[in-house]
Amino acid sequence: MKTADPPRPRTRPKRPGAPGAHRRRALPYLLIAPTMLALSAVLGYPLVKLVLLSFQDMTRKELFAGTDPPWVGFKQYRSIFTDAFFWEVVGRTALFTVVCVGLTMGVAMGVALLMRQVDPWVRVTMAGVLVAVWAMPIMVAAAVFRWLTDTDYGVVNWALGLLPGADFTGHNWFANPWHGFTVIVLVVVWGAVPFATITLHAALTQVPAELEEAARVDGARGWQLFRCVTFPVIKPAFVMVTALMAIWDFGVFNQIWLMRGGQPEKEYYLLGVYSFTESFAVNRYSSGAAIAVITVLLLLVGAVVYLRQLLRMGEVE
């Protein structure tokens, strides 16, 4: 992959759009118009609806009849916030996100660095595998992992049983949520590592060789070299990938839903699943909507730091 890197101009971009360079005021608005239009048209109405819904009390009756559900103010939010189970789910979601993001980024960084050290043919193998994993539908990944961890016929139980002193015959991975989440974290990390690794590896190819060489001459080694020379260059990419991973993992739904056969136990609820079951299984559409709104708000709070950093990196003006 590295060999394939085309020679690219090393010139850093000048500050975007130097003042006075573009006089036609309307042009940028015209350019973003289609995007804005698409977003506001297709997403705007559903979003407004979602927020409104969280202040109402919608049941199937109103849903089917198309009548307006009664307004209940903050009732949904009040009952959610006073529910201990909700906070349990929030805590679980946060922990899940931290673990997944930490593991993904740790593995991806390590592998990306490793890819610089190996022979070309090994690198191509690694890249091929990463790409193949990336292209795997979640639905398939979940089915394969369920199959691998099957209680009676799973390879994992069999392989662990080979360890001395361990008996995993008939071990059920989902009876204990800690074990179950181990498997789910594995699926999520497995699926996320390719994107993170490829991006980080690509970013690493941008680190000027002279820079590292110079540092090495100055006596920098291993960790020090990485921390002081390499990492600062790839930091923007690292921050971006971390943030995306956090957003995706915080709202994770498919993996859990599929791994638990569309009927997740309460111990397996994360915010995304909770919101969905409230809406579609229990038909408390408003409560589900409120949970979705809270999820976004929680993410926003967590993202403020990240957003400020990104905006600073992107808009040094």
Binding site: R8, P9, P13, P16, A21, P28, Y29, L31, I32, T35, M36, A38, L39, V42, L47, L50, L63, V111, Q117, V122, T125, A127, G128, A132, V133, W134, A135, P137, M139, V140, A143, V144, L148, Y153, V155, W158, I198, T199, A202, A203, T205, P236, A237, V239, M240, G251, F253, S275, F276, S279, I291, A292, T295, L299, L300, A303, L307, L311, G314, E317
Partner: protein, 281 residues
């Protein structure tokens, strides 16, 4: 590496190679298991202790999967939806990315913020409102409706990535072209677009994978069996009689194959592309 590799360096490289291959093997194992299940006779699928090598290979699962009545029409839907989403989101996204990267305008910051925040919205919560909207427009059970919906979920990331790429292209090149008599659009087409190619490819991969694999929304939006996509088709291997693992894994292989091929074809550009986009943050 330079020609005079020390012994230590060689040992380090061997260790790195071993680690790299080990990692590849671990990552690839689920894929191998999928292929193996797809290719071995049904009677061997549930066998304990598991066998890591098939006693004989068979294509019966693939045959059964491809003989499903709706297979080819589902392939068609997937292709239309995948390509439609990718093409349109690139088209619209490039314009917006160009605006954000090259112009300063009032509301730019807000626009960037909005783009970032949209990624946080949980899709599941929006299913019914989106359905109602499309239903008012007569776009339910229509591929266009699905493309439009996917579009808004792909656009933010598309704009974000492409923005980074465009920033990576020196603005002087464009200015030079305009001095030489090109129009603004001409400069964009002749100078920016060719340099943007890797970025476009990288971005298209991302959108394609997302569009190809999504199934919650598409299930609710499309009800005709022959309009549904391959990801819905895969679910049909879970019947009320039980799961046909052989057929499902064969189907999964078939589903992943087109994306994989596309990926392999463009992977060189993807690596370069993601680098540029990512580094420029």
């Amino acid at each position: 590496m330079s020609g005079t590799a020390t012994r230590q360096g060689r040992r380090g490289r061997r260790l790195a190679n071993t680690l790299g291959l080990l990692f590849s093997a671990l990552m690839a194992f689920p894929l191998y298991w999928m292929l193996l299940t797809a290719l071995r006779p049904a009677s061997e699928i549930r066998h304990s202790p598991p066998r890591f090598w098939p006693s004989q290979l068979t294509l019966e699962h693939f045959q059964r999967a491809m003989e499903t009545p709706t297979f080819w029409s589902n392939v068609r839907s997937s292709v239309i939806i995948g390509l439609g989403t990718v093409v349109v989101s690139l088209l619209i996204g490039t314009l917006a990315a160009f605006a954000v990267a090259r112009f300063r305008f009032v509301g730019r910051r807000a626009f960037v913020m909005a783009i970032l925040c949209i990624q946080m919205i949980p899709l599941a919560g929006l299913i019914i409102p989106i359905y109602l909207l499309l239903s008012d427009l007569g776009l339910t059970d229509s591929l266009t409706g699905v493309i439009v919906t996917y579009l808004v979920f792909m656009l933010p990331f598309t704009v974000w990535l492409l923005r980074g790429f465009i920033q990576g292209i020196p603005v002087e090149l464009e200015e030079a072209a305009m001095v030489d008599g090109c129009t603004r659009f001409g400069a964009f087409r002749r100078v920016v677009l060719p340099l943007l190619a890797p970025g476009l490819v990288a971005t298209s991969i991302y959108s394609l994978v997302q569009a190809w694999n999504e199934y919650v929304l598409v299930y609710v939006l499309l009800s005709s069996n022959d309009k549904q996509t391959l990801s819905i088709w895969l679910v049909s291997f879970q019947t009320s009689f039980g799961t046909d693992y052989g057929g499902m894994m064969a189907g999964a292989t078939l589903t992943a194959l087109p994306v994989l091929i596309f990926f392999m074809l463009v992977q060189r550009r993807v690596a370069a592309g993601l680098a540029a986009g990512a580094v420029k943050g």
